[in-house]
C-alpha cells in the first residue's frame, strides 16, 4: 500500500524539539514483527479481493448488520485509532464535552501496523481511519462494521462523489476524511520557471544536491510513470514499471537525489529547492518557515489532469464497544465548523463541499500562491489514485523501489 502523508518517521525536527526528548529509537521495526507474532492463522477468505478503481467501483460485502436507528449514544470512553497528529486535540475535547464522554486517541505509524493491531482481536477501538487502498481487505476481513446512515446527516456536506465513492459504493463502511494531491513543492525564490512537463524539474541538473523525492515507492514510481505519460498508476506491466524505475535511477548521478518525506521542513528551511511532496506539506510549510521569511517563497505544482490524488476515510471498527457514539463521531467530523477547526490544526483539507480554494484563501488558511495545493472536486475526478495492487504486482513495485534505493 502507499505510504500516507501522516506516515512520518520520528525525525520531524520541529515536532521532535517541541515534544522534547521522548523519542525512542529502535522501536521502529518492532511493530511489524510483533504484529506477525500475534497474527492468527491464514485468513479463510483467500479469494481475490475486489480491486476498486474509479472506473470499476466496488460494493463491499456486508459483514454483520449496521446498528439500529435511533439508539442513544453510549457513555464511557470513545476509542479512536488514527495516525499521530492527524486530528485536532481540541476538537476531541469538544466532542467529549458535547457527549459527556472521554475521547482516547491511540496512534499508529503505518497502515500495515494498524491492520496488524486490529487483527490481534485484543483491541476494542471504536473509530478507525482506513485509506481506500486497504479498505477492501479490512472490510472483507471483518474488521469494520457497516454504518447506519440515519446517524450521518452531515454526510451531505461531503463532496458528492465521496458520498458514494468508487471504493465503497453506497458508503457502506466509510465517510470521507481528508484529501490531498501529490506534486512538487519548490522554492519560488529560486525556481524561475517550470518546464512544460513539470516533473522534469526533478531531473534538472541545475538543482543538483537540492532535489528530493518522496521516500515511498508507490508515490515515486507513480510520479515517474506519470512523467512518462503512463496514467495508469496502478499498472502491473513489468516494462512500464521498469522504465519508470530506470528514470528514477538516473536521478542519482544527475541531481544526487535525496529521499525523504519531510517536504514541509526541507523546502521551508531551504534544504530542498524542489521536493516531490503532498499538497498538505506545502500548506503546512508556511508554519515551518524561518522567522521573517514570507510565504511567497513557497510554490506547489501538480498537473491539471492526471495529478496523483488521495483521500482517507473514517469508519467504525467491528469490535467497537461504543458503536452509536462512534457514528456520532463520524457525523461530528463531517460538520463544516468542526472540519474547519480540524483543518486549521492538521493542515490537510477535509473533503467537504464548502472547502473550496476561494473559501480557504478568504479564511487565510492558504496563501494565494499555494492555491493549487487545494484539491477541488473537479481535480479529484480528473486525477489518478494509487490504489491496491495484486500481491504479484506489489512485489514488482517493491523490488523496483528496492533496486533504486540500493544505489
Amino acid at each position: 500500500m502507499t505510504m500516507h502523508p501522516r506516515e512520518r518517521p520520528a525525525y520531524d525536527r520541529r515536532r521532535f524539539l517541541r515534544n522534547s526528548l521522548l523519542v525512542s529509537l529502535g522501536g521502529v521495526a518492532a511493530p511489524s514483527l510483533l504484529g506477525a507474532c500475534g497474527s492468527p492463522t491464514v485468513s479463510s477468505s483467500s479469494t481475490a479481493l475486489p480491486m476498486a478503481r474509479p472506473g470499476s467501483p466496488v460494493e463491499l460485502p456486508l459483514k454483520g448488520e449496521p446498528i439500529a436507528d435511533g439508539l442513544q449514544p453510549e457513555s464511557g470512553t470513545l476509542k479512536v485509532f488514527n495516525y499521530s497528529d492527524y486530528v485536532a486535540p481540541g476538537l476531541m475535547k469538544a466532542f467529549g464535552k458535547q457527549y459527556g464522554v472521554d475521547v482516547q486517541v491511540t496512534t499508529f505509524t503505518t497502515m500495515d501496523e494498524a491492520v496488524a493491531k486490529l487483527r490481534t482481536g485484543q483491541s476494542d477501538f471504536d473509530v478507525f481511519f482506513p485509506t481506500p487502498d486497504i479498505l477492501a481487505k479490512v472490510a472483507v476481513g471483518g474488521l469494520l462494521q457497516p454504518v447506519n446512515h440515519s446517524y450521518l446527516p452531515n454526510l451531505g456536506n461531503a463532496w458528492t462523489q465521496l458520498q458514494n465513492p468508487f471504493y465503497d459504493r453506497g458508503a457502506r463502511y466509510t465517510v470521507p476524511y481528508n484529501v490531498y494531491s501529490t506534486g512538487i513543492g519548490y522554492r519560488a525564490d529560486e525556481v524561475q520557471s517550470l518546464p512544460p512537463n513539470g516533473y522534469d524539474i526533478l531531473w534538472d541538473p541545475k538543482y543538483a544536491g537540492q532535489v528530493h523525492i518522496l521516500d515511498d515507492g508507490r508515490e515515486a514510481i507513480g510520479m515517474s510513470l506519470l512523467r512518462n505519460g503512463v496514467t495508469d498508476v496502478n499498472t502491473e506491466d513489468q516494462d512500464k514499471i521498469r522504465a519508470a524505475g530506470d528514470q528514477l535511477d538516473k536521478l542519482v548521478p544527475l541531481v544526487h537525489v535525496k529521499v525523504d518525506i519531510n517536504g514541509y521542513t526541507e523546502v521551508a528551511e531551504n534544504r530542498a529547492t524542489v521536493h516531490q511532496c503532498w499538497s498538505g506539506d506545502m500548506i503546512s510549510a508556511q508554519y515551518y518557515l524561518p522567522k521573517g521569511v514570507s510565504t511567497d517563497v513557497l510554490g506547489y505544482w501538480r498537473p491539471d489532469t492526471n495529478a496523483a490524488i488521495g483521500n482517507d476515510t473514517i469508519a467504525v471498527a467491528a469490535a467497537a464497544q461504543h458503536p452509536v457514539l462512534a457514528h456520532h463521531f463520524l457525523n461530528f467530523m463531517l460538520d463544516n465548523d468542526n472540519a474547519l477547526r480540524n483543518f486549521g490544526w492538521v493542515g490537510y483539507q477535509p473533503a467537504l463541499s464548502r472547502f473550496t480554494p476561494d473559501f480557504l484563501l478568504a479564511k487565510q488558511y492558504v496563501p494565494a500562491n499555494l492555491k493549487s495545493a487545494v484539491v477541488t472536486m473537479a481535480d479529484y475526478d480528473a486525477g489518478v489514485q494509487l490504489l491496491q495492487l495484486s500481491s504479484t504486482g506489489r512485489v514488482l513495485w517493491d523490488d523496483t523501489w528496492a533496486t533504486f534505493k540500493s544505489g
Partner: protein, 301 residues
C-alpha cells in the same frame, strides 16, 4: 552441617546465579531470533498480505532466503553489502585512530583527572541520540558552520555537499555515534595493565615507543577486540544514522533495506531473510572474535 553438603550447595548455587542471565538471553535473543526465522521461512496471508510465521522447521520454505542470498552475491543487494562492510570498516578505523589514544591517555596519563575525563567523554550521551545527529545536520548544511569555516580559511571555494549522499559523512557520523562504546571498554583494559610491567620494560632499555609496541599493545589486544566488537555489531544494523545524514540511495546500507522490507513492503519474509543473513555474517565475525580473544588470553597466560 558437613563440609561436603556445603560444597554441594555451592555447586548448585553458582549455576543458579547464571539462571537470570540465561533466561534473559533465551527470552530476548533465542525466541525473537526463532521468530525471525519463522517469518523468513514462513508464508504470506493471501488476504492481508501480512506474514504468517511457520514455527515447524519441517514446513519451512527457503525461497525468500535463497533469493536474498542470490541478490546479495550477484544482484542489487551486492553493492549494499559491500558498502555496509566498507563503511563499518572505515568507521572502525576512525574509532581506533581516535579512541585508542584517548583511552590510553585517560588510563595512563590523566592521573587524578581520569574520572572527570571519562565523565566528559560520556557527556554527549546525556543528550538524546536524535538531537546529537540533528546537530550534525545543522553543522554540515551548505551554509552551516563547517562549510563557512572551510570557506573562510580558503580550503574550499564552494560549499561541500555533505548531506546529499556523501559517504564520508555517513562514516564520520557512524564513528561519532559509537566512539564512546569503543573508548570505555578499551580504557578498562588499559587501566588494568600492571604499571610494573611497563616500568620493567623501560628499565630494560626498550624505550617508550618500544614499550608501547611490545608490551602495552599486545596486552590491550583483548580490550581492543572487545571494543571493536561492541562498536561494529550495532553499526552493521544501523539504518537511522544513514537516513538522517544522507537519505540518498548512494549510501544505502543493509539496515536501510531491512527497514524498507519490514516496514514499507509486504515482503516481510525478504526483510526477515536479510536480518538472518546479516546475523549469520555477524556470527562469523563473533566466532573470529571468540577465537582471537581466547588466543590473546592464552598468550597472556
Amino acid at each position: 552441617m558437613g563440609r561436603a553438603s556445603g560444597d554441594r550447595r555451592a555447586e548448585r548455587l553458582w549455576p543458579a546465579l547464571a539462571l537470570p542471565g540465561t533466561g534473559w538471553l533465551v527470552l530476548l535473543f533465542v525466541v525473537p531470533f526463532y521468530a525471525i526465522a519463522a517469518v523468513a521461512f514462513g508464508v504470506i496471508d493471501p488476504l492481508f498480505g501480512s506474514p504468517i510465521p511457520v514455527w515447524n522447521p519441517l514446513q519451512w520454505q527457503f525461497g525468500s532466503f535463497t533469493e536474498v542470498v542470490q541478490r546479495a552475491l550477484t544482484g542489487d543487494l551486492q553493492p549494499v553489502f559491500v558498502r555496509t562492510f566498507g563503511y563499518v570498516a572505515a568507521a572502525l578505523a576512525i574509532c581506533i585512530l581516535v579512541g585508542y589514544p584517548v583511552a590510553y591517555y585517560i588510563a595512563r596519563l590523566a592521573g587524578r583527572r581520569r574520572g572527570l575525563l571519562l565523565l566528559l567523554i560520556l557527556a554527549p550521551w546525556w543528550i538524546n541520540y536524535l538531537t546529537r545527529m540533528l546537530a550534525w545536520i545543522n553543522l554540515l548544511e551548505p551554509d552551516g558552520y563547517v562549510n563557512r569555516f572551510l570557506q573562510a580559511v580558503h580550503l574550499v571555494a564552494r560549499p561541500v555537499d555533505w548531506l546529499s549522499g556523501n559517504p564520508y559523512t555517513v562514516v564520520i557520523a557512524l564513528a561519532y555515534g559509537y566512539l564512546p562504546f569503543f573508548i570505555v571498554p578499551l580504557y578498562a583494559t588499559l587501566d588494568r595493565i600492571d604499571g610494573q610491567l611497563l616500568e620493567a620494560s623501560r628499565d630494560l632499555g626498550i624505550g617508550t615507543r618500544g614499550t608501547f609496541w611490545h608490551v602495552t599493545l599486545p596486552l590491550s589486544r583483548q580490550g581492543l577486540l572487545t571494543a571493536s566488537a561492541i562498536t561494529v555489531l550495532p553499526m552493521f544494523g544501523d539504518y537511522y544514522t544513514n537516513t538522517l545524514v544522507s537519505g540518498s540511495p548512494t549510501t544505502t546500507m543493509v539496515g536501510n533495506q531491512i527497514e524498507f522490507y519490514l516496514l514499507a513492503s509486504q515482503q516481510k519474509a525478504v526483510g526477515a531473510s536479510l536480518v538472518l543473513l546479516l546475523s549469520l555474517l555477524l556470527m562469523a565475525l563473533m566466532a573470529y572474535y571468540l577465537v582471537a580473544t581466547q588466543r590473546a588470553s592464552r598468550e597472556l597466560a
